[in-house]
Symmetry: C5
């Protein structure tokens, strides 16, 4: 979990930017060396054309006339590219700055010509190999948090992501089919589809967390050790991450639904309302999981107390039983010259009877106290 979620939570903004004039474009995410790959998909109902751009000069060839244009930027480590795209599509500098800051909060900003949307894409990349880890199904999975920025114009959609990996392959292949709804509708439906895909993945993450909570609960009594605390803490942190992604997202979609700039066509609105319902559902389940995790912690703590009680009871019974007896036999281990009992014919027998009497009454007391 260290290498994925921790940095974005604990290092909200790099020190790199401190003190620079506002609007300067500096990438504040983790540094990555990778060649740029801008995927351009231009489509309308009749045709679709996919291009990959590797140099900034090719940008000028892109036209937004007569078709919908989806420009997807995989790496945002090079401010020069962002700046070039910004110039090409006439994007406000502060928006570009926000795209580069990979620690932004989900939000939507409306401008005259476009809306700017920030989302958090959550995924479980190691899920494929989850089968191997079946033996430790109560451990928290790695959760990958990535920021997706969208600029939605009249007939273009720019998307920016940190990593190459995304969830949109299904949408890309649906775009290939001329009779898919994506091809028939305008660019806002594509934007909706991407948001819908991201929110759908939240359910997968939720399901994973839910399963692990259930497993953790099943194994609670079997692992009285530090593993419980570690896993519980990791699950709680993932729930926090999800919460931070989804609460502001609700406001984002709510703002899109108000649709003040008319960028969303009326026929797309019911779909967006559906996404809104899903987000409410995610919020609901996230809050439920927080409750369940809190409850689980209480159960764990009381099981610790209960266990301590049992251990102490065993110690107390044994010690309380034998310490007085040891004292009795100690008495007759003394070497005094004049100890009349030692000379008695049945002294030894009597001591045994006393020992048995003491032990029996102590055991009766423990029974009365319901300790045994």
């Amino acid at each position: 979990m260290k290498h994925t979620s921790a940095p974005s939570v604990l290092h909200p903004q790099s020190r790199k930017k401190r003190g620079r004039p506002p609007g300067s474009l500096i990438y504040v995410g983790k540094l990555r060396q990778r060649p740029i790959a801008l995927n351009v998909i231009a489509y309308n109902q009749d045709q679709i054309q996919k291009t990959v751009i590797h140099s900034l000069d090719e940008l000028s060839n892109i036209s937004t006339e007569g078709h919908n244009l989806w420009l997807n930027t995989d790496g945002i480590h090079d401010p020069a590219i962002i700046e070039a795209i910004g110039k090409k599509f006439n994007i406000y500098p502060l928006v570009l700055e926000d795209i580069l800051n990979t620690n932004s909060r989900p939000k939507v900003d409306d401008y005259d010509e476009y809306s700017f949307i920030i989302l958090k894409m959550l995924s479980l990349p190691s899920q494929a190999s989850a089968g191997n880890q079946a033996a430790q199904s109560w451990q928290a999975s790695d959760l990958k948090v990535e920021q997706i920025s969208m600029v939605l114009g009249r007939n273009f959609l720019l998307t920016f992501q940190e990593d190459e990996y995304d969830l949109f392959d299904g949408i890309r292949s649906r775009l290939d089919h001329a009779d898919s709804r994506l091809r028939k509708r305008s660019i806002d439906f594509l934007a909706y589809s991407l948001i819908d895909r991201i929110v759908d993945e939240y359910f997968v993450v939720l399901e994973d967390i839910g399963e692990r909570i259930e497993n953790l609960e099943d194994q609670l009594t079997r692992l009285h050790n530090a593993h419980f605390v570690t896993t519980h803490s990791a699950l709680k942190r993932q729930t926090l991450l999800l919460r931070r992604a989804v609460w502001p997202l609700r406001e984002v979609v709510s703002a899109l639904l108000r649709n003040e700039r008319q960028l969303i066509r009326p026929e797309t609105l019911p779909y967006l309302r559906d996404v809104y319902d899903h987000i409410i559902q995610v919020i609901d389940v996230v809050e439920l999981y927080r409750d369940l995790l809190g409850d689980l912690k209480d159960v764990y703590l009381s099981s610790l107390s209960l266990h301590l009680n049992q251990v102490m009871k065993v110690l107390t019974i044994i010690a309380t039983l034998f310490i007085p007896l040891t004292f009795i036999v100690g008495v007759y281990g003394m070497n005094f010259r004049y100890m009349p009992e030692l000379e008695w014919r049945y002294g030894y027998l009597i001591v045994w009877l006393v020992i048995i009497a003491v032990a029996t009454s102590l055991l009766w007391y423990f029974r009365k106290m319901r300790w045994i």
Copy 2:
């Protein structure tokens, strides 16, 4: 509890749907193999006609003219049926998708021709055999959560449920009586009656939880063991389930009361307001139970602490009393050649006096400390 409530809580939405285009009809509940049974009840004040439809072709025979129509679909595992009903009654695809998703949140959506309502039906199916379990009256019962979807039109009401089992038999038999209010009034009164019946059952669930809380409280001191924690946790989870069912329901009925589409006749509104009052009451009691359960947990934890204190006190008294005495008798068990006390005539007696003196002063100290 595992097989009923747990899945719907912890697995919010199946993986099956991930990545599909929106609006595709896929049933995301648990898979069940059962023939379809569509119960059609057509009634007006004069006559009532009950039909069961087993094939999709018969759907076209249904007319909504001149009477109120109640179409109840027991199984929603076959999207084809839902699609056919949707086409027949002109239902929006996203609504059909919501009907199939059995993990939706209670809500109401207004459309031009109909309102779409989602409810959660809670019931205690194992209650009949509850008498057998009298000995373990503090255990949590199984709680069955089922989703009821309603489409309320001008003169038709479509209801969709997962399972055959429902709470509406009383309403069905009341429909048989020509002089019942149900027959005299329009279809919205039937919708109200179903909602009222579902909310009434919440009180039964509440009463069951309340009784078990009371029993758990009574038995608190008798069961210092893991059973308390398990039952407490189950009751808390049931309260969470009820809470998740009833909070959004409040908004649902509140939206129906605003009655923007005029689907609810004015004469039904006071009844709905009554249901609203009941929902507020359920919310009230649910929140009270959460408080009581929280309180009970605190009582349990402090009883654990108290118990540990008592156990430790017994151990401390016994150990503190006999350990010094054992030391004393140990001293005179030593085999040194020159130990003057051993030769004394009353050495043994003196040791006994010392032992009694030490024991008495320790007991006096314990008494002063209020330990005994």
Copy 3:
């Protein structure tokens, strides 16, 4: 406490009503066998006439012309009476149903001809004999919760209560005085006076709880036992009951103050505003008591921990002191043939010196650790 507050909290609504058509009049409180007694007081500024009605036929003799009419129904176990009154005064059936349901939440419903008000009357019936229990002043008193329903019309006021016992004797005797404000003013002033009396009693209950919290606090260190937990839990539950009575009451009086149906005369409004202030004050103190009780629980728990710490310290000091010494004397209790120390002239003395040295250094260590 069991027989008074517990049922109304934990059994929100009887199973009896489940599945019946709405509006059927079924008494859902506890069953009581008692003859009906309807107290009728008809009064205006000039005269007052008190009647007790024992049969339903006499109801028709009541007239609401020319005077204010107060009809008080002591027992609500017989739906027939309620129905007869309802018919006489033209009351809506759902209102009658609410009157019979003694677990309703405080509320006000406005109808054309009357307002329907539900209140909770809290009282301490065992208070008279409280003097006897002076020895256990930290125990929670019995708290009696009763529902009062009021129907306030233009010139009549119907009140319904479960039990004969009420708090209104003072008001009844004030009605006898022709120059009292009650006689000079209209019927809404009587309604205000009843509400005021009920809210005044809340302060008595609060004062009782406050005193018991204080006593419990004083005795905290003296009773390290289960009594604390029981009493604390009972006080907390009473606070919850009070809270449930007073929070919705605030909305009730607030709605009466808005006075949309003009049933409250303008000159009564300042008095109602005064009641509103009192309710706010009760809410304030209730919330304060919740805080104080929470604080008290924390103090109790830390006193348990502190006590355990002290007990363990005593055990540790004694055991740590004598266990090594017992080992030393055990060494010289061994029966080896060749143990040179045993033959030494001052062996015994040296052992005693070693014992004293070990004990002294351990005591010095305990002192350094601030344990003694």
Copy 4:
């Protein structure tokens, strides 16, 4: 603390008033025998005249013409005086009742001719002698809570307080200076000045609480005893008192700022806004202190746990070390006739070697477990 704050918190309203008709003037505070002293200050920019009234007849001599009139009533135990003042200044009876009830909540009520304001004056009367208590600087001070009622008219201000002691001496002496702002401005500026003075004193109380929290924190490790809990609890209760005084006060000043009756001159409004800022600041710090006190309690509880851990570790190390050794030496203290080891030449030496070996390995184990 007992004799000052506790009663007003825990006894919200005396039983004396129960069941009386509303509007009857009964003093519900603590009974005090003291002659009445009504301080009258009549002033305008040119002159000031101070009078003390000792009988009710002198009241009629007071005129409100041509100057601002401040009438301060020190004792409110005699309802006759309050009634006389009420008649003189034409005050509504329910207002007089509120003045006598010293447990009211801060509030403002607007009437046609005047505004009625209730405030809580908090002070630390024992502060002067605080120097003496320097040794116990972590103990909570006594906090004095007194109710100040104000009736603010066009050109008169009536103030009512329980005790003679108040915070207004500075204001009285400033009134003596003809060139002070108080003299130049109208009566609402005097009202503002009194409120400002009371809120200023809140900061003193806050500072005192803050210092004691700091001291308590410093001494936390030095006093592992009941003193911590007592002081912490007292500080928490004082914070609750302050909270109860200041939260409603915010609404009071906010209502004055809305100034619907025009009793506040526009030029006084900025000053009132300043008081409002101060109140917000007090609320802010009170909430912070609640957080800090909660944190401190957690630190205390974990220090108790930590301490218990250390004590138990010492016990465990000593017992675990010597109990096995005592067993070994016990073995060779047995008196069997045939025990070959006892006859060995180096038996005793070997036993010592065994003892040292066992002790060493146990110590090595403790070291490995990081216990020593």
Copy 5:
């Protein structure tokens, strides 16, 4: 931490001011002896002129005509200076009072000619030497809290700070460049730049806290001691400080964005909106840190419990194993004359066998209980 943050948190307002007339200028911060230094920067797009003023007489030379004027006052310990500046720029006396009160809450007040803004500047002055403390990276850093007051007029900006140290050197050097945006734009852009710089530093503080939380978490198991509690408490307090700085700041910027006095030029508004987003982000992370710190405390407490459990288990196993054995060997250490076993040929051997049998069965029991 003592000397920086503690006073401003715990001493909300000095006693010095108590009882003075409102509007009197008294510095309530900590006293400092330092000569005054007023930095005046007058600039427009063409030129820039920097002056330092050391006496009040020079103030009159300042002109606000034809350029933007930034007057920065480093020390606010001398009310005379503040008063002189107030007279020069026509500032309201209550504003000057707020400037001197260094414990104000962030706020914005709009006046006719200017807006008055209070901010909290947080910084980590000891950060430079942070490298030295690398070994104790889990300790909380010193956090410096300073109040910045701003008076923003049409073409002047007055800033007041307690200390010489500030974060604005970068802004000052950017002002030197004629082509910087600061020079081209009006004075409100300078105000924005200062606020932006302060909020940027919040991220640095957040990052520092985040790193220390992470380090604390890593070291959790290694430091079972008081250091954890101290550091945790300090971090929590810093989070509280940050919270108190940033929540009201949100309202401040929100009020500036509403821009009712038109002091902010429209072209600056998007920049301010960006600052607003950053503040929301800071709030978000602060709340997250509070959650994480709460979680960390829980983990710590359960690690304490877990550790106690382990310690007690070791003690119990050892004691339970050897105490019965010691009793057995004690029995045969008794000196009775008639003890048949002592004479047996294989008595010693049999005792050893019994000892081994008892030990084995106890070990088997511990294994069964999963203790070893």
